[in-house]
């Protein structure tokens, strides 16, 4: 397999597969650029022309409405032509290989593929086999990475707290299966977070996670003490029951963000969640849109971040 580099020889982004290994300057530039689109949007300037004549194909092998919609909207606001393909996993297993799917769609002169697939490494695979000049944007591959989610999380924190560097973070919940957690951890590390904690029962903590520079907690109250940012992760209920957790109620009691736990957080601390929320599981229902919650800001930032990434990859060089 051909080794894939996300940056070209001049250091410009040519694919976005993972936040791991990207320099702080690249991350900061993407966040600044997203801020620029947010500012423009506030002034009623939602439509931009930098991707006019470019073709973006959303290639989703996993069911998704929310994420696909934000990618679609981002591409359209940059004036790209957008094609949405929802490929059921079964149709590829019937015949066409992923490689053939890629080559067929490439022949339609696509400039960028936004790919979501349940196999870790899928985005790397497409990037390794894509024709020169065809960009791959990872919209989530297995448990591996979800870099635009990571960026929007970084952006949201920076908006509220003014910085990332020096802050303490705690990620709570299903770390094991979470690409959101992995991308957040890489981004936070690169931008100088003071401390990154992960809190979950041992069944949901992957082996060797400390090698990513995090501290593991099984006592959420200890984990949440003094943190500036709480990042809740979504539990996939169907997957969890019996196998990883005895019950959702027990998880909520031991790890859920209850009013009691929230009351002990520092006054300035914020609460994040990638959505969709399981009310009464990860978080007590009425706190989802409470004063500490930045969950809706995350959604809004998602579009701006995806515009920033697409523009930096396909748009004119700054």
């Amino acid at each position: 397999m051909i080794a894939v580099s996300q940056l070209d020889a001049e250091g410009h982004l040519q694919h976005l597969l993972t936040l791991e290994g990207l320099p702080a300057a690249t991350l900061t530039d993407l966040l600044d650029h997203a801020d620029h689109y947010l500012d423009a949007g506030r002034q009623g300037d939602k439509k931009h022309s930098s991707l006019l004549g470019r073709t973006v194909i959303n290639l989703f092998f996993e069911a998704s409405t929310r994420t696909r919609t934000t990618f679609e909207l981002a591409a359209k606001r940059l004036s790209a032509d957008v094609l949405n393909l929802q490929v059921a996993a079964s149709s590829t297993s019937k015949g066409e290989t992923l490689f053939d799917t890629l080559k067929t769609l490439e022949a339609m002169q696509a400039d960028m593929f936004v790919i979501r697939h349940d196999a870790s490494g899928a985005a790397h695979f497409f990037a390794a086999h894509a024709a020169p000049g065809v960009a791959i944007l990872n919209a989530g591959d297995g448990r591996h990475a979800h870099p635009t989610q990571g960026l929007l999380d970084l952006l949201t924190v920076r908006q509220r707290m003014g910085r990332i560097a020096g802050l303490k973070f705690c990620l709570v919940g299903d770390i094991l299966h979470s690409r959101v957690a992995r991308s957040a951890i890489h981004g936070l590390r690169t931008l100088g977070a003071a401390e990154i904690r992960v809190a979950a029962p041992p069944t949901l903590i992957p082996a060797g996670i400390d090698a990513l520079g995090v501290q593991v907690f099984h006592d959420v109250d200890a984990a949440l003490s003094d943190v500036d940012v709480v990042m809740l992760l979504r539990l996939q209920k169907e997957r969890m029951l019996g196998a990883f957790l005895p019950s959702l109620g027990e998880f909520h009691r031991d790890y859920g963000l209850t009013h009691q736990r929230a009351a002990r957080l520092p006054e300035h601390a914020i609460v994040m969640h990638p959505g969709p929320i399981n009310r009464g599981v990860e978080i007590e229902g009425d706190m989802a849109y409470g004063a500490r919650s930045v969950i809706l800001e995350q959604v809004n930032n998602g579009i701006a971040v995806r515009m920033a990434v697409m523009d930096r990859i396909l748009g004119a060089r700054p």
Binding site: M1, A3, V4, E20, T97, L98, F99, H117, A119, S120, G121, A122, H124, F125, H129, D141, G142, R143, H144, A145, R179, R182, P206, A207, G208, I209, A211, L212
Partner: protein, 429 residues
């Protein structure tokens, strides 16, 4: 009958503890004479090979090589893999029963032997299926398989979930004096994973296979050996704890042995970086501590044999996101070079290294020990010890170019290989 004289070779024959310079005369299919330098062979010589500075060893006996025929000829076949095996100095190999159809009837064994004969392949030593269709539901006709030529029984990499059936399989095999070959992996603990459980799998988001998946399976089988006294061989160990279990069982005089795939002595899960599907192997590449423990166990003989675990794949089988690719690496042509690289790196005596590829696996298959002496079949490999080369997968003769070892450099190469007295491989340069 053609006569070949291999002159002035350093003969390494562990069965006789022989390490010395000799002339070896091949006459027809057999070794006619082994002479000390200064002695001239009687009669005429048709081919003269100057082997000064080179090592003459018995052809390797590979405990696990898939030739993909019958059933998977899109990947490889006996013709292609025969060339690769001889280029790798391998003159005999055990064929796991996971052909298609499975080697669970005498007719299938006969068919494989016929294919082998037509391809003039290395000696094929079929391992019969332990259970019908390898499905783990019912015992295969072990006695009939033995009569047809199977030298052992194996469940290949298929699970055997029923403990009672596993126990009865061992009992039945013991009655026939047959060794049972098991690749230990608890399928439920492995849980469909594709990478060693650790920091690399976590970083890449790959489903992990814990060390316990190997160890739990081994403990289970060892406890059945304690009950039944059946002879059991663990194939393709990957963990330090697995090697420790074998050592412990051997210290208790249980009839248990083990081998390791050569690539496990060189690679760790670090090779998975960048999702390289060539490094997708089963059992998975493990940690550095495991790798070093495996090396140590091979040196001490706890792990008695090194095999290729040859699994050639067509390019498409490896052209997918990592978890969706087929596991396995092409290894026939690397068995001697890797073993001798290990020998050099770990300062292992040459006779010990040769033993791991010849005497140990031969004994495990119930064969007489390969010897370089008059009257023995002329199954020999000539090794050039100071011939640096670098692995370019495109140059492999196997149809499977799938190897995680591309770019690795070697000092030893297989210069020639004779099977039944015929030179089946000779380096052109």
């Amino acid at each position: 009958m053609s006569r070949t004289l291999i002159a002035n070779a350093r003969v390494l024959d562990p069965a006789q503890a022989l390490d010395g310079t000799r002339h070896v005369l091949i006459d027809g299919t057999k070794i006619a004479a082994v002479l000390t330098p200064g002695t001239a062979p009687e009669g005429t010589v048709d081919h003269h090979v100057d082997a000064s500075g080179q090592w003459l060893v018995p052809g390797a006996v590979d405990l696990a090589a898939r030739f993909r025929e019958p059933g998977h000829t899109a990947k490889a076949d006996f013709a292609s893999e025969t060339r690769a095996a001889f280029a790798g100095g391998i003159t005999r190999f055990a064929l796991p029963p996971d052909t298609h159809p499975v080697l669970d009837t005498p007719a299938m064994v006969v068919r494989v032997l016929r294919i082998s004969k037509a391809a003039r392949s290395p000696w094929v030593m079929p391992l019969g299926a332990l259970t019908q269709g390898l499905a783990g539901q019912a015992l295969a006709e072990m006695s009939a398989l033995k009569a047809a030529g199977c030298v052992g029984l194996s469940q290949a990499s298929a699970p055997l979930d029923d403990p009672l059936l596993a126990r009865r399989a061992l009992e039945y095999a013991r009655g026939l004096g047959m060794t049972v070959h098991i690749q230990p992996l608890d399928a439920r603990l492995a849980n469909g994973g594709c990478a060693h459980e650790g920091a690399t799998a976590t970083r890449l988001g790959l489903s992990p296979i814990p060390v316990a998946a190997e160890v739990a399976a081994m403990r289970f089988w060892i406890s059945l050996v304690e009950d039944t006294g059946a002879r059991l061989h663990f194939g393709r160990l990957s963990t330090a704890r697995g090697a420790e279990l074998v050592a412990n069982a051997q210290a208790r005089d249980l009839p248990i042995s083990a081998d390791v795939a050569a690539h496990q002595l060189f690679l760790t899960d670090a090779a998975l970086a960048g999702f390289d599907p060539a490094a997708h192997l089963m059992p998975p590449l493990r940690s550095e501590a495991d790798r070093l423990a495996l090396r140590d166990a091979v040196r001490t003989g706890v792990i008695e044999a090194i095999c290729s675990d040859h699994q050639p794949h067509e390019a498409d089988a490896k052209r997918d996101p990592f978890p969706l690719t087929a596991a396995g690496a092409s290894g026939l042509e690397l068995l001697w070079p890797l073993t001798l690289k290990w020998m050099t790196e770990d300062q292992v005596p040459a006779l010990t290294a040769v033993h791991r590829l010849t005497c140990a696996p031969a004994r495990r298959l119930g064969l007489s020990l390969p010897r370089i002496e008059a009257g023995q079949p002329a199954d020999l490999a000539l090794i050039q010890p100071d011939a640096p080369w670098t692995l370019d997968p495109a140059r492999l003769l196997s149809r499977g170019r799938n190897t995680p070892l591309a770019g690795l450099s070697f000092d030893h190469r297989v210069a020639a290989c004779w099977h039944l007295g015929v030179a089946r491989h000779q380096c052109s340069d």
